[in-house]
Symmetry: C2
Subunit: 360 residues, 2 copies
């Protein structure tokens, strides 16, 4: 029997296996990549020899000829944002199901970093999921030209997209606030490079129109707690009784900022967030928010990407829209519960400029 011990440090290749199993390298290759193409007994023998020698097929070498690495990239805007955790989980599950490995890339909310990372990774992966990309439309199309791409949380012609039903979410939030007696909603904007940010504002404009609620926008602010606290300061200068924040982190920041300044939520101001992150449930007061099916987003986007890689035409129809729901907690309440108070007590003396128009 030939020696079992290979010189250490040396990779075991199909050639080594071929030698031991007394077949040609191509047969060894086929035994793994197209088992039906080789006699089952031979295949079994090869598999055993391979096992004994500790052979592992080299994915890089394989990729060189097949140009399939069995890896997909998942680009997220900010790993610090808990929203993405669930999305990642969903994507990972779908990828694993399809025998794919996910490489996660954190763009740190930076257009530049995102492009650089995508650039570097592109040639190494079979496809890309861009979750909340901060890149420009044209940059995304550029990427999509070279690799299968699915875009998450953003709609873009000619590129397959998965989005959540932002208009409906905003509408539900506005209805909810309206029912509580609020006739004016302030939208606290997040990053301008964020697609949902624009959509949410426009949806709020529409909803305001239909529901006869006035709306205005302040910001943009960083989509973080710190950003929310800064927004709170600005809110003091231009008071509001109902606030819709770009996301939960900002909403939480707003609540903290307001309470630090003696403003009560929901007594004086109602606050609604977006995303329903875990923290929304643990803050005091619990945050009313628009919940999205995070896990489903990740998994739907990834599954679609996988079919594209498998050769399906990236059906460039309308984006796939996932449903949302409003989770009502304690950060929203009826407006001005204290009778006789036209305005919350913390309104500064400076008169509020005439009611904000429905901006274009």
């Amino acid at each position: 029997m030939p020696d079992h011990t290979r010189p250490p440090g040396k990779r075991v290749t199909i050639y080594d296996v071929a030698l031991e199993a007394d077949v040609s390298p191509s047969t060894v290759s086929r035994a793994f990549s197209r088992p039906s193409r080789v006699n089952s007994e031979t295949a079994e023998r090869i598999r055993q020899v391979a096992e004994r020698l500790g052979y592992r097929t080299n994915p890089l070498a394989r990729a060189l000829t097949t140009s399939r690495t069995q890896m997909i990239a998942l680009v997220i805007a900010d790993i610090t944002n808990p929203v993405y955790a669930e999305i990642v989980r969903g994507a990972q599950e779908a990828a694993t199901d399809g025998e794919y490995t996910t490489v996660l890339i954190d763009a740190q909310e930076s257009d530049r970093l995102e492009r650089a990372a995508v650039e570097r990774t592109m040639s190494t992966v079979d496809g890309i999921v861009l979750a909340s990309s901060r890149m420009s439309d044209s940059a995304i199309r550029m990427v999509a030209k070279q690799r299968p791409v699915v875009v998450l949380n953003r709609a873009l012609a000619d590129v397959p997209c998965v989005v959540t039903d932002n208009p409906r979410g905003v509408r539900r939030a506005a209805e909810h606030l309206g029912e509580l007696g609020h006739d004016h909603i302030t939208y606290v904007a997040g990053p301008q490079a964020s697609w949902p940010n624009g959509v949410r504002w426009r949806s709020l404009l529409e909803a305001g129109m239909e529901l006869e609620i006035k709306v205005r926008q302040i910001g943009p602010f960083s989509p973080t707690m710190a950003g929310g606290e800064r927004a709170a300061q600005e809110l003091c200068a231009r008071p509001a009784t109902a606030v819709l924040a770009f996301n939960d982190q900002m909403a939480i920041g707003i609540i903290r900022g307001l309470s630090r300044m003696g403003v009560n939520v929901p007594g004086d101001v109602s606050v609604v967030g977006f995303d329903n992150i875990l923290a929304a449930d643990i803050v005091t007061p619990g945050l009313t928010t628009v919940a999205a099916p995070l896990y489903a987003e990740g998994s739907a986007a990834t599954r679609h990407l996988l079919t594209m890689i498998g050769g399906a035409p990236g059906h460039t129809g309308p984006p796939m829209v996932l449903p949302v729901r409003l989770v009502v907690r304690d950060s929203t309440a009826a407006r001005n519960p204290r009778p006789g108070r036209a305005r919350p007590p913390w309104v500064r003396q400076r008169p509020v400029p005439g009611p904000a128009a429905h901006l274009p």
Copy 2:
């Protein structure tokens, strides 16, 4: 002038560039990988042609000969846990500085998944950072034999490690609770596969010994809010006035669970967590916790890995220890502030079994 338009879908290779620039492929290769080895004018010409043709060196092909992919893997136990966000940031920064790409792998707290993922990825990366690995020591050593590995949040002979000063953190927490009059601390354990979990408990045993504070352990529980809420129920059966939780998420879960049962934190029970996640600051009451330099952990581990990849011997001395600090917030308070109450009012009638001994 030859045609500028390449057949679409076809990758541009050094051969294409060589043809256009009228040099041999090897010269093109050298123009990029060892510019000093080729005439600067030639190199410039080649670079321009390459630019015009849109040539990008194929990292896979390069890796095949150099066996360097310029990628490292960062394996984390649970992407849902916000602790890792900062670690990832630190690691990513260090990697980017060294011209490396990080591929992030989420093990979902599963030994099995972690092994599988590492297995799949190993041959594709130049090195691995295992952050809070759930694998067995032997499995880790196995991996370390094949690729440079740095282990984070775990000490392991023969493998380079980066850990935080758990003993000191526990000691500080115990001192803090002792100063508040607590003479008994209950440790709420996290995953048994977690190395810090064991260390924290043992450190608490030691600290208890020295500070003359009794200690006991309950658990293990899942290191999540849900796990903490379950722990809270068990805490009701076996009351305590001071609790040290494995991490912040459990601590928050414990606080919620307790308050749901009418127990006041910190009035009746003081709770201390570990990690100082963002949420620790936003819950009510604010969570007293042991803070670790997360970002530094990730970056230190990665930098060390990079030097190993660069050829340095993975100095297998003692682990690198990073300092911690105690962040005191509002979840800890003096024991039994209400005079005349030997025990908090919520103690069930069933007598508490004799004070837990200092277990082995």
